[in-house]
């Protein structure tokens, strides 16, 4: 900028700043200070959390730990690795996402593209809001009631003496966990569908396509990045949830097949995930092996951060603020 030599004379930056501040009420200055403080504090808290977890993680994680199976025991050096929890986490993510994805996308499509009768659409929307707000512990305990019904005996295993159904298995935990992912997939998909301009649909109808053909050939490809974002967010919530795992996966250290059928037996059986492993190995749990808990929490954080980076990566092409919801 050209050098100002106005007849009013030059004032230093400092003078102008002080002059400006004289126009401010003291309370407002405190407000600005507090806002900056909060902003900086949030960054500091997150940074110290990351640094601390990274430090502890690198201290205790090694390849051997990642690829060996956990063993029962009270001595931390004897309790093996975290292979089974890692596998368990991935299994739960796959099962839950596979169920949640069609459910949430279908519901979003119906709401936006059909949505009649209106009252039913409103009920469905509120229903999904209720799921989003429902405590996962309540969802978990509901799942336990369901999967202990005799009609779901195939999903887990029953006591040998013909007693009650155990109700805890990968199938049970994965199915119930899918509810956790539904709201985020639903919300992003619905928002994306609503932002598709009307003329896009009208152009497709104008070509003689049916509604369903429009959905499949035009709308779904358009909103695919948003569905991916919602799914990645949902996966993050699945990977991070502990309550449902503790109640519905049995939280056994190793994967234990429920029946002898290969493959399916594992699904019917119990196991653990990284979250339940951390919970059980924290001082409040049964294991009390802080080193292992830190290591597992570190791996879990890596997974969560990777999913968030993925969201940011997909989200670069999407508009809007990408704060959590």
């Amino acid at each position: 900028m050209s050098v100002p030599v106005g007849p009013g004379g030059r004032r230093s930056r400092r003078d102008r700043l002080l002059g400006e501040l004289r126009l401010w009420r003291p309370l407002d200055l405190i407000g600005v200070g507090a806002a900056w403080l909060v902003g900086i504090l949030l960054v500091l808290v997150a940074a110290s959390l990351l640094i601390y977890m990274g430090y502890r993680g690198l201290q205790y994680v090694n390849l051997d730990l990642l690829f060996s199976r956990p063993q029962p025991g009270s001595d931390q050096s004897q309790t093996g690795g975290i292979l089974d929890p890692i596998v368990g986490t991935l299994m739960i993510i796959v099962i839950a996402t596979a169920i949640a994805l069609p459910l949430a996308v279908g519901a979003a499509l119906w709401i936006v593209e059909y949505g009649k009768p209106r009252w039913l659409a409103r009920v469905v929307e509120s229903g999904i809001e209720v799921i989003a707000g429902a405590p996962s512990i309540a969802i978990a305990i509901f799942g336990l009631a369901i999967f202990q019904l005799p009609m779901f005996s195939w999903a887990s295993f029953s006591a040998a003496d013909g007693g009650g159904v155990f109700g805890r298995s990968f199938i049970a935990a994965g199915t119930v966990m899918s509810l956790i992912a539904v709201p985020s997939i639903f919300a992003t998909t619905r928002e994306a569908l609503q932002s598709v301009p009307r003329h896009v649909r009208e152009a497709s109808y104008g070509l003689g396509k049916t509604r369903w053909a429009t959905i499949r050939r035009v709308l779904l490809p358009t909103v695919r990045p948003d569905i991916a974002t919602g799914t990645a967010l949902g996966m993050g919530r699945i990977a991070g949830d502990t309550a449902i795992i503790v109640l519905l996966l049995g939280a056994t250290l190793q994967l234990q097949a429920g029946t002898d059928i290969p493959g399916i037996g594992t699904l019917q059986g119990t196991g653990s995930t990284l979250t339940s492993y951390v919970y059980n190995n924290s001082p409040t749990g049964e294991g009390n092996a802080p080193e292992k808990a830190y290591a597992a929490a570190f791996v879990l954080m890596l997974l969560i951060i990777a999913l968030n980076v993925l969201v940011a990566f997909i989200g670069r092409r999407r508009a809007g603020n990408d704060l959590p919801r």
Partner: protein, 293 residues
């Protein structure tokens, strides 16, 4: 009003607006000092060689414009859309700085002081702005008019202080008779024309020196437009007013001087009647005769 601002440059006692022919980009040599005869009182605002660039655009939005704004006159900025008139207006109280990537060169003097040397808040208290879309706040009529008085004060003034000032501002804006019976009504319930006059009252309540108006009537019906134009006519006694408009008839009705801008350049500046009846630049003639717009 004895104090004239000191001369900005020594080239002439009052430098002429730099009138540019957009076709050749040559300054039109014809002296137009006669247009600048100080018949309207002291100069309050001087726009001196102001250019404004937006990041990501090669052309400046405003290109080296020089213009005077005097006490007691209405300066109308006209030109086709995208000619930079709104950008120029928004730079006069530094609102343009809210747009990321906008940079300004050149000086703007308010009563001889460079506005960059003023506190931004103090500047905006003296140079207030009316927007294209009426923007009353979501509160009562009274609270809207009292808003700036309250928020500018270091300590919140009481109702007894506010009441007469609110009434005076509403009277000046010609809205008092219509709303006096219920000042507690939400401002957003008023009609569009009333809302715009409320915004004018809101600005007048803190008695600015200069009033900037960005197409204040473009969202209004013809009757409201007439009322607002009448109001502008009365207000200029005590204020310097700069109004941006794309409505030539309006510029002719309310303007004392008219500046025609085209693609960022100031093409012509003249007393209103002269610009409309006897434009010097071809471009101006084409525009005021409706050849393009």
């Amino acid at each position: 009003m004895a104090e004239f601002p000191p001369p900005v440059r020594r080239i002439s006692s009052e430098q002429a607006p730099n009138v540019v022919d957009p076709a050749t980009r040559q300054e039109i040599p014809e002296p137009i000092a006669r247009a600048l005869a100080p018949s309207y009182g002291p100069e309050r605002l001087r726009i001196d060689e102001v250019s404004i660039h937006y990041a990501g655009s090669a052309r400046p939005a405003v290109n080296r414009v020089t213009l005077p704004v005097r006490q007691g006159e209405v300066l109308a900025l006209i030109g086709p859309s995208g000619c930079g008139k709104t950008t120029l207006l928004r730079s006069l109280n530094r609102l343009v700085e809210l747009t990321p990537g906008a940079t300004r060169d050149g000086r703007i003097l308010l009563d001889g002081d460079d506005i960059d040397q003023l506190e931004i808040t103090r500047l905006r208290r003296r140079v207030s702005m009316i927007f294209q879309q009426p923007n009353p706040f979501p509160m009562s009529i009274f609270d809207n008019v009292a808003y700036a008085i309250r928020e500018q004060a270091m300590r919140r003034p009481g109702k007894a202080v506010l009441q007469p000032r609110v009434e005076k501002a509403l009277r000046r804006a010609g809205l008092w008779d219509e709303v006096a019976d219920d000042l507690g009504r939400p401002a957003l319930r008023l009609s569009g024309g009333q809302q715009q006059r409320l915004c004018i009252a809101r600005a007048l309540a803190v008695e600015p020196d200069v009033l900037l108006m960005d197409e204040p009537c473009s969202a209004l019906d013809p009757i409201s437009t007439g009322v607002v134009e009448e109001l502008i006519h009365e207000l200029r006694q005590n204020l310097a007013i700069v109004i941006v408009t794309h409505n030539l008839a309006q510029a002719r009705r309310v303007g004392d001087h008219v500046a025609f801008m085209y693609l960022g350049d100031l093409v012509e500046y003249a007393p209103t009647e002269e610009l409309f009846t006897n434009p010097r630049a071809d471009r101006t003639r084409d525009y005021v005769q409706g050849a393009f717009g």
